[in-house]
């Protein structure tokens, strides 16, 4: 007895999200015969893993109605610090990965704590966090790349299961599926959406709004750390300046994927499609030998278009139902 209206609603929403990557993929498959080869598609997926996982963290945070500008900095910092640990000793190599995860969680907690404790806007806290952690990463390494990473540490980023399936893709898939299940099938997911949609109502309903917000930052921090590990593993080195301006890429992907700045909207499926859109553009640039500058322009246009279309739709609907009610009942 699932609601028909809901199905229609959802299918309309998803068609909007599927369209951009589909159109780009179609164009690319016409313009380049290499596009649809398994090798290229494999590359495409591999290239997007880090961004996709970072964007997943941003999605959680944006659904809960907050921002995070520190994404890329935390990614670089955790990668650099854990890599430094890993290259020091065989013992460190084993510890490197759990250490990175713990570090990510810790930084996420710190962000969340500052935001909820002092009620500072998350944009400012994470701006400061961005400056601090990027600075610490550069300072600790003196700006140098940490290379010569041990194999254990690189495993998640560069190994292939049975020599075929990249481990990083498996991690990506597992995380996205688990995350999407969590968002749509568990109570925590319902709570995150509720907090993002209407924090006041959530408070009055007895939800622990501050705690939920703090938790999404922790989840975000762990995901950034994973993204950093995968990137370091793939590149074979940890760069303190890595993932430069990835905060924007990840945020753009989440926005294209349906996250709203006000919170309460978005899904991992959408974000994945958003990241896919961005990666297809990158891949297209490589295949068609376009310069990267073009890509930046096209990305900007897609973000704008996605939002204009969305708000146009909302405005139309609102006009139909506009009333005194709307601003009271909310």
């Amino acid at each position: 007895m699932v609601n028909r209206k809901e199905i229609r609603r959802k299918s309309r929403r998803y068609s909007c999200l599927v369209l951009p990557p589909l159109v780009i993929a179609l164009i690319l498959s016409f313009m380049s015969e290499y596009f649809l080869t398994p090798v290229n598609l494999g590359n495409l997926l591999l290239q997007m893993t880090s961004t996709a996982i970072a964007a997943m963290g941003i999605t959680f945070i944006m659904i809960a109605g907050e921002y995070d500008l520190s994404c890329a900095a935390v990614l670089a910092f955790t990668a650099v610090l854990s890599a430094s640990l890993a290259v020091r000793s065989p013992f460190g190599a084993v510890l490197g990965i759990p250490f990175a995860l713990a570090l990510g969680a810790g930084i996420g907690f710190l962000n969340g704590w500052l935001i909820s404790k002092f009620s500072i806007p998350s944009l400012v806290v994470t701006l400061a966090a961005m400056k601090i952690w990027r600075g610490v990463a550069l300072w600790l390494t003196g700006g140098r790349t940490v290379s010569g990473l041990p194999e254990v540490y690189c495993f998640p980023g560069c190994a292939r299961l049975f020599g075929v399936v990249p481990v990083s893709l498996i991690i990506l898939a597992v995380l996205y599926i688990a995350g999407q299940l969590m968002l749509s099938r568990t109570r925590y997911g319902y709570e995150i959406y509720a907090v993002g949609r209407d924090a006041e109502a959530a408070t009055l309903s007895g939800l622990g709004v501050k705690k939920i917000r703090r938790n999404v930052y922790i989840v975000g921090g762990i995901l950034y750390a994973i993204a950093g590990l995968l990137m370091a593993g793939r590149v074979g080195a940890a760069l303190p300046a890595a993932a430069d301006s990835m905060e924007f890429t990840a945020m753009s992907a989440a926005i294209i994927g349906g996250c709203a700045l006000g919170g309460g909207r978005g899904s991992l499926v959408g974000t994945f499609l958003g990241v896919l859109t961005m990666s297809l553009l990158d891949n297209g640039a490589d295949l068609l030998q376009l310069s990267y500058y073009w890509i930046s322009i096209v990305q900007g246009v897609i973000i704008l278009a996605a939002l204009v279309i969305k708000t146009q739709g909302v405005q139309k609907r609102q006009k139909q139902t506009e009333s005194l009610h709307s601003d009271r009942v909310k």
């Binding site: 007895m1 109570r187 997911g189 209407d198 959530a202 009942v329």
Partner: protein, 254 residues
């Protein structure tokens, strides 16, 4: 006009659920509550009658920790308790429904009623994984039991505001509420909620109690077992059902 102030501690037949004693709290506009005291018994429907623009809503807010009083004690089942926040108030079975309360419009009714609760009050089977079938069945069952007609799959905004308040009351009861405070939701909405006889019966059977805060004399007279009148931050009088008269209440209120 001298207010009649015979506040009694407990009547014979009913158990005391909740007592506020000497509660004071202050706002920018001066005193909100001034050594306010009252008692609530089990199974009772208690009215608090205050004229418009009295800060009646402070009562409900203090009770659920949305504002902290400067002075006074709260007794629950005759045990002194700290003034809680909304969540612990709900865990202590006190629910506050005010014009600020609302359901989430992006979730259907069943999800709203069964999931958007303090974690300790979520049904045990839904603590982690949500089985949508489960909660819809649960909700349907409850709706029937309370005599409220609604589709658990529908979204709250498909219903009128009055019905939404009814759902909020029902949710409180599903959470095992002992005390439900219906705080200044407006006479027509109060009327809409209280028209659900089965819902009220259900509450009475569970030994729960209700506090209706409103400015509408008739509305309270018809429905309440007892009425306190509220004026200038304190209870200016208290009447039992058999003592009610419109003019008396009016006099005590103004």
């Amino acid at each position: 006009m001298p207010a009649k102030t015979y506040i009694e501690t407990s009547s014979e037949k009913m158990k005391e659920i909740l007592r506020m004693f000497g509660i004071s709290c202050r706002g920018t506009g001066g005193m909100l509550l001034d050594r306010l005291s009252f008692t609530l018994g089990s199974g009772e429907i208690l009215g608090i009658l205050g004229s418009p623009s009295e800060e009646r809503r402070a009562i409900g807010r203090v009770l659920t920790g949305q504002i902290q009083p400067e002075d006074g004690t709260l007794y629950i089942h005759e045990q002194p308790e700290a003034f809680p926040d909304v969540r612990t108030a709900q865990e202590k079975r006190i629910f506050h429904i005010s014009p600020d309360s609302r359901l989430m419009n992006h979730m259907d009714l069943a999800e709203n009623l069964c999931l958007i609760r303090p974690s300790s009050l979520v049904p045990h089977s839904e603590r982690v994984w949500v089985k949508r079938k489960n909660i819809h069945l649960l909700c349907e069952e409850y709706l029937e039991e309370c005599g409220v007609e609604a589709d658990p799959y529908a979204y709250p905004d498909e219903y009128s505001r009055g019905e939404q308040y009814t759902f909020l009351v029902m949710k409180a009861m599903m959470c095992g509420a002992e005390t439900v405070v219906l705080d200044s939701i407006g006479q027509p909405f109060l009327h809409a909620v209280m028209e659900h006889r089965d819902l009220i019966e259900h509450m009475r059977k569970a030994e729960g109690a209700m506090i209706l805060i409103d400015s509408h004399i008739e509305e309270l007279m018809y429905r309440c077992d007892r009425i306190y009148t509220f004026r200038e931050g304190r209870m200016s009088g208290s009447l039992f059902r058999d003592e009610y008269s419109r003019s008396l209440l009016m006099e005590m209120m103004l």
